[in-house]
Symmetry: C2
DNA sequence: ACTTGATGCAAGTGACTACTTGCACACGCT
DNA sequence: AGCGTGTGCAAGTAGTCACTTGCATCAAGT
């Protein structure tokens, strides 16, 4: 029996359920995910799912918590001192932002769509971006103090992240131009630094 | 009887149903929307709803089609010659973009979430932005020819719209900074034109 | 006056959903 | 060896959902 996973550790079962939850949730949205389908995909009995998480709501919350990695950007920021120029640092940041968003694209989209329907999901999904935001604001603050950038650090961070947020979330709209990612990042960073005005 | 609207024209009934559909979809998401609730909000019998649209899926498609206004941006672009400076033109464009996106924020979110589930919804909702995109690319092309801007017109358009797309769609993330909209637009336009680099 | 068609209303159908229950099995720990 | 616990399995419950049906009513067109 493939489905019989007795003997697997409790944590393994749990994380298999959470992974399945994420997949189904991304496919069908919060209302569309059924505990049956999640259980099936996790190769777990539906009853086991409920024994672990009690209700579907708790399951979703647990999943969103579980896939809420807040760490990544800070590591990137720490490793940034190795890069000489400001351009280079921003490119690294941009690529990190794109990759992080892409990894959670599914969750972000669903969470945005269900903004009103499920406020708790909101909190969970936006927690990581919020932490990232704060680190970024601090980073830009330092760059302003060092007279490498000008303006308001919060707005710089907001605008900087806008570029990559849209790059990931609305790339469907721009299917005409599909430059390789590195090139795109370079273009966006250049725009961010120097603008588009001629001369 | 409030609910008895016999005598209203067929089109009126139809558009009342579509309006209700939009409201409920925005509130509950695609799976959370029930035909019962839509019918109730439209002050229409559920059977009438099905007599008009056949299935829930057709109803959604009809709603997305119905609220797909492609016109607005071109009018704005036409009225742009009255504004003297490039900055001013871009600000007007930015405000128009924000308002247009805000008006359809709910639809955009639905479409994004539905990306996988229902490809038809995609086509409907992205039709207007795609048209807008093309006009904008042309506009930026002219500005480049006139040596007011530099770069690739498609990318300029993409980056320019990124700013406002994120401004609307991710404003939840930036609840800390809530400058008045005009100020925000000014800031974004300035960034777009001159970048953030010091000196 | 008669027909036509859009609608209301009430009831219903079958499918699906979240969640439960009772029991058997199979591991790991002592 | 024995016990606890995590799991499978099958059946079930009460509710909800999309969608249908049959019939009565009302308004407009001819």
């Amino acid at each position: 029996m493939i489905a019989d996973v007795r003997g697997a550790s409790v944590e393994e079962t749990r994380s298999r359920i959470l992974a399945a939850t994420r997949e189904i949730y991304a496919l069908r949205g919060s209302r569309g995910t059924t505990t049956r389908e999640v259980a099936a995909r996790a190769h777990v009995n539906e009853a086991t799912l409920f024994r672990h998480f009690g209700t579907k709501g708790h399951l979703l919350a647990a999943m969103l918590d579980h896939y809420n990695d807040t760490s990544s950007l800070n590591e990137v920021l720490d490793g940034l001192t190795g890069h000489a120029t400001l351009e280079e640092q921003l490119r690294v940041l941009g690529i990190a932002a794109i990759e992080s968003m892409r990894r959670k694209e599914d969750l972000i989209k669903i969470a945005m769509a269900e903004e009103i329907a499920d406020p708790h999901a909101q909190v969970c999904v936006w927690r990581a971006p919020t932490a990232a935001k704060e680190s970024l604001v601090k980073y830009f603050g330092q760059k302003i103090e060092a007279r490498e950038l000008r303006g308001d650090s919060a707005w710089l961070a907001r605008i900087f992240m806008s570029l990559f947020f849209s790059y990931v979330m609305a790339r469907r709209l721009w299917s005409g131009i599909d430059a390789p990612q590195d090139e795109a990042v370079e273009m966006m960073v250049n725009m961010f630094l120097d603008g588009a005005r001629a001369n």
